[in-house]
Point group: C2
Chain length 345, copies 2
Amino acid sequence: MRAVDWIDGHIRYLDQTLLPHEERFVDTDDVRVVEDAIRGLGIRGAPAIGVAAAFGVVLAVKAKNADHSLSVRRRVEEAIKSIGSTRPTAVNLFNALHRMKMIAERNPHASEARLLQLLEAEAKAIQEDDIRACDRIGELGASLLGHGVSLLTHCNAGALATAGSGTALSVITAAARQGKVVRVFVDETRPLLQGSRLTAWELQKAGIPVVLITDSTAASVLRDGKVEAVIVGADRIAANGDAANKVGTYPLAVLASRHNVPFYVAAPTSTLDREAPNGSAIPIEERDAKEITHFAGVRVAPEGIGVYAPAFDVTPNELITAIVTEKDILRQPFAAAIARTLKVS
Amino acid sequence: MRAVDWIDGHIRYLDQTLLPHEERFVDTDDVRVVEDAIRGLGIRGAPAIGVAAAFGVVLAVKAKNADHSLSVRRRVEEAIKSIGSTRPTAVNLFNALHRMKMIAERNPHASEARLLQLLEAEAKAIQEDDIRACDRIGELGASLLGHGVSLLTHCNAGALATAGSGTALSVITAAARQGKVVRVFVDETRPLLQGSRLTAWELQKAGIPVVLITDSTAASVLRDGKVEAVIVGADRIAANGDAANKVGTYPLAVLASRHNVPFYVAAPTSTLDREAPNGSAIPIEERDAKEITHFAGVRVAPEGIGVYAPAFDVTPNELITAIVTEKDILRQPFAAAIARTLKVS
């Protein structure tokens, strides 16, 4: 199962808003459909958004209704501007768009056909890099876990969130293949229930026992010693290791620290942001109030009240035991480890 | 508005499962209807459960279909056994039933009619004690708050949870009447959304600005210094001050402590349990898995997964700044303060 893929010159994605009830793949060569899917969480997860964005640039540039009086380079710039405005937090989106922009800038004299070839090749390279990164993250992360462990995860950092086998869930499924994993406690992850709908679904497909809990039950699970480690993904990791991830990750890290449970963040190097010195430099998206006041179209809160709906929170690096990337397992001091990793990559 | 009341020899309660969409009062003289309402959260909140239980005993004893070959005392005992099995955590239930039992035991020679009178009077006394306690908790608690404060609460500890004006919400509405309260952040409180459905509704009716958040957003709200205090109710407070309350209270207390925000528990002395030396002696109810796997009747998680659904968690006393009862504001060391309070009452 690939959450986002490139098939014969168009994008195919699994519409995640319909899971777990329906597995519907959407085929499109319209970049606006892709942008709407990113905004509406049909395509979600930082690495998957990055891959979809790269292929989206290709679709935009070659679209029949594109303004062909503009140079390819200008069309790439326009597409990047538009796709880059869909969601603000996942840095993979901007890193992927930056790679696409570099292709256009470094080949100013290429023909339109040649440049399109190069752009498509770069998007495929971004996809393949992510697939490889996921597998390597799984291998490296699994080495951190002992035998007979129970784990806890939040939101969805699985195959659905990447082009490949996932980040946090790649670690879990790799460890499960080694017979190490007893069960996984899954936070339901309000408001959009990525835990109940997506992670429970993925783990069940992988044959790994799931125990679904509400987000705030995680505190009791950690206090009662029911899990040996917490593993989550990330949407952006600052240069000092502060990590933005789905809202609810920060309290999980605080509780894990209080109860001496290791707290691991699994993410490809494309999630590292060398420009953000620390977490306070990471833009945090606010979502529509309706995601909290309504459920499945039904209003659950009275009308006329205020709502505060940040999609992410920032976990300070001192609460993170290790960051598992495809290059290495990074540990404190993270600033040095991240600088080293970015120099190598 | 009274969540539970005694009208002309029968119970009238507001069916809280229908809020905020519909305000439907149910009139019943059938104790089984009352028991089902407690089990199904039509009547909820520790003090309200206690009051409903006391009146429930009266209904059971005088029911036309009761076994009138049994003595009133035996009928009281049978009723207590049945009503006492509805929910395990709120100690107010057992404290109220104990008061009813004492009436029967202390009047072995009273006529049936006289004993029924005494039982009804005791149930009314339990109700009136709660009404007075709520008001006094409001006054005392409001004295803890400064002017221009923003507050955070979890679940519903309002008029809906008591016979009177609430516990935590009595503090908030009393402080609001003094012009002290700017806004109240309300945790939606998964899985049954008592925050979105009940607390937001009550505060809005009281004209207090509400900001609804998901439970795990509270961590960001506390870290960002958006609130000056957290106030919650309790379902049972052990002799050392450990407090059981709706699941999600414990992580809130941990985060409040981390960010130096005072954490107040407001509860009548009927919520104190002298028999439980500490939190580990408090039975924690587990609820039906469907409360998490389904939302508004719609399945949101795949079938066949495990679920862990405790309704409550325990906050250790060292994370509690003060416990506001109708007698006094209790502070560390709580064991001594609670013993003193129980001796006086």
